[in-house]
Amino acid sequence: MLLIHCPYCEEMREEEEFSPAGQAHIVRPLDPEVLSDEEWARYLFFRKNPRGLHHEMWLHTHGCRKYFNVTRNTVTYQIMESYKMGQQPSVTASEKGQS
């Protein structure tokens, strides 16, 4: 059970207040119609499954109902940071020498 910091509520709260919402920083293509099927499929279906640092979205479902981003180590489950939607992570895999 994780202890998650909501950057909007600015509090550490129990995992049961939150829902995971998948990989973070996936941007919807501005003009989907010009994409090839393959490009569109990449946006739709292809997700990272890293061993190590991962940037993912969480929703504070039973709290402020805001989506936000979390950088989490998928091996140790350590949460390195949480940050608001639209912001960029300060801890990234390349800094830690991971792919």
Binding site: L2, D31, M57, R65, Y77
Partner: protein, 1008 residues
Amino acid sequence: MTQVNRVAAAANQHINRNRPLTFIFNGKTYQGYEGDTIASALLANGVDVIGRSFKYSRPRGIITCDSQEPNAIFQVGSTQATTIPNPRATQTELYQGLTASSTNGWPNVDFDLMAGLGKIGGAMMPPGFYYKTFMYPQSLWMSYEKLIRKGAGLGCSPQQPDPDEYDKMHHHCDVMIVGAGPAGLAAALAAAETGARVIISDEQNEFGGHLLCSTQAIDGQLPSLWVKDIVDKLTTMGNVLLLPRSTVFGYYDHNLVGINERRTDHLGEHVTTSSRQRVHKVRAKQVILATGAHERPLVYGNNDVPGCMLANAVSTYINRYGVVPGNELVLMTTNDNAYKTAIDWHQAGRKVVAIVDTRTTSNGELVQQAQALGIKVLFGQGVINVKGSKRVKGVEVAAINAENHSVSSAISHYSCDTVASSGGWSPVIHLSSHTGSRPVWNDDIAGFVPGETVQQQHICGGLSGVYALSNVISDGFKTGSTAAQDAGKGDGSYASILPLINDPQEDPAMALFHIPHSKPTSRAPKQFVDYQNDVTAAGIELANREGFESIEHVKRYTALGFGTDQGKLGNINGMAITAKSLNKTIPETGTTIFRPMYTPTTFGALAGADVKHLFDPARFSAMHKWHLDNGAEFEDVGQWKRPWYFAKTGETMQQALERECLATRNSVGILDASTLGKIDIQGKDAREFLNRIYTNPWSKLAVGKCRYGVMCKEDGMVFDDGVTACLGENRFIMTTTTGGAAGVLQWLELWHQTEWPELEVYFSTVTDHWSTMTISGPNSRKVLEKICDVDVSNDNFRYMDWIEATVAGVKARIFRISFTGELSFEINVQANYGMHTWQAVMAAGQEFDITPYGTETMHILRAEKGFIIVGQDTDGSVTPQDLDMDWVVGKKKEFSFIGKRSWTRFDNKRDDRKQMVGLKPKDPKFVLPEGAQIVFEKDQPIPMTMVGHVTSSYYSACMGYSFALAVVKGGISRKGQSVFLPLSDGTTVEAEICSPVFYDPKGDRQNV
């Protein structure tokens, strides 16, 4: 029977001889004392055989005194409601009238028919026996399995509901200490003295851990007095929570500790003075694991004969419970420490036949003490075999060569009735492993200790391989103050002074796990490693020879560590034997990973009070009581309780449905539709937002108008549908499916927050704010006119309009929308007025015989019209085009709305996709089962080529025949063709593909 093995009272015993307790084991009545466990009481009564082994049905006795116990696991409790399968007798406190029985053994443990099979088949039942033997013919495995499972099995689950109450408690603390032995107590004191908030828990009924069975003086006094002193101090401090009888079953990420506190189990069955068990969930800033160490048995021939025990367990029974579990002891040890057991036995007044020490020599203080007492010590030897079957009768002892695993002398025989063995100690690393930390091998103690972790975790005492009592206590003080400092309390120092302890000087122990026999292991008498699963040294070596080299594979092939004890007793020995047989070191072989639960935890405790109506919240509409009073049967839709149908006295469900359908089509029916999700959407960009989320256009929807919309996921598949009304230029009310409401709101919020934050739009769920009743049928307008202050004629109130009006004196929104295909009005009033309005509508409708109907009639009526139910007719793989609903797709919308791009993906353009159609069974009375598979050709070899399935199917009283909705590959272009449905009873029925709109295809009835 008398307590033949109970010896004279002594100051360090923890039983109350003034409180005798009677209990029943396997139908016989025995006596024990308050403070006993079932195990200590049985040993006091001289009961040797307490169960039969799992695979070979060998007689088994009590081996340990703690959570490691593999044999003494019983069925405890006298009724089908209170019976508990498989608690360990060594950890189950005795209470007056306790009833227990063995979980294995038929017809009884002393005379077991299965044992014959075990004896004859023993040599022929290697690991994988069941797989190897019962593999062919494969079709018979199901029959074999039933018999095999009957012969096996541990314990019975209760057949009646659990009458006890359970609860949960959440805590935050600075320092959580697991284990209240000398290390844990010292740590608790040091941490608490900094002012830190401390929780200390221990699985035993008393704090003290190893000191409860020790006679080693602390400050010149019994160790229990030191324990009492510390516990008294902790109890008077306001910042410490002490939890005895509380097992930490799991250590989870981010320092969450799960504890099960047994509050009344020791008092009897179904005690109602408090909850029976309580789960504590502790989120700790720092966790100190002070779980100590478990003694390891040695592996030798016939080491499972009752009377073979762990050395420390023997000491515990003597010192703590005043029970000497035999008369003549042979102790086999690899270390000095176990000599205490022989000394305890001797001092209890019974005979120590010999100490068999596998080392060539030792001159430690305990060794000298034993020799001074006149106890015979045999160095360089091992007990290679035990004689006896239901009780040890003697041992075979020989000189052994551990290096080349051989016996190097002739065998000597010794008579005895008890064999205690000690192979050293294994730190209890289970909890530290729960969070993913890999244990590391420590050569100095010949055991695994916790490895690196990312938790805020500290370890101390036996767990870290520190065994001498004075070191354990000072380690506790140090760790407690350090953990407190890490939690922001204190400066890392501690005030307590180490008590005066004289730790005996010990010579080095020998790392030995498996005692050689004069024959090779495969031919030697059975040498048990994991007692509960009958895993032997020979079995492990065989598994290694058959190619199972990874310890994880060895575990799964032999079942090593799979019992309720989870390998506590045997795992390290099993790994050592594997290592040796593969010519590897133990660290190279590695260890399997322990996972929660540390010991089995009841479902009741985990559920807590969240059972029955508290398990999941139920939601009721404002008219629920009316439904109850009027005979409704209910259906769960999400958390809602919705009327399913309203049966009149004597009616079957089918009769009720036919009556409800006909009444609605011919006069007027009424449905409670309050449960449909309602989301209030406001903001200047609300309209644009709807354009992007829905497949159809919203730019031109005027105030006062409603529109049906379909929502897709980005992959183009239908995800929800409903009617949205324009309340004002910048305000809409969206309805969703009952079950989809929460998901839709989340979906809207996701897109708004993550992709289009620039749109000014706000969402608020208002489902509970409104009561909604739909009146439907040709007479519905007449009913409404009677109680409404507005002209609701077709000229003034058009189909797909909504108006504000007063209904029965209550402000209402009325939507003229239809899910039945009939003239319909959906009346929405503030929820508090729901019942009032419903009753007024019912009264107004009386002259038209207004008929309440439930979800089933709603389903039938909408299906007659070919209206889909998302989640029933769709399953997340269906596009609007598959539903033949291209009309709901906006063709000119500027923004590439959610789902649009995916429809032009290659796969979604195929013409052989499953498409929604109607089905008419050839037999007009036969209702196709929902979910039935569809094939094009009747006579095909199995497996047939399946081309679709039935999604909705009913008998229509209005049309007089049965019908169905289905998805069929390329179905839209196959109308008029026959398909076949092979059913589970072996018959095949034929149906014709048709339009899904069966009733009033032109839609005239809703427009009148």
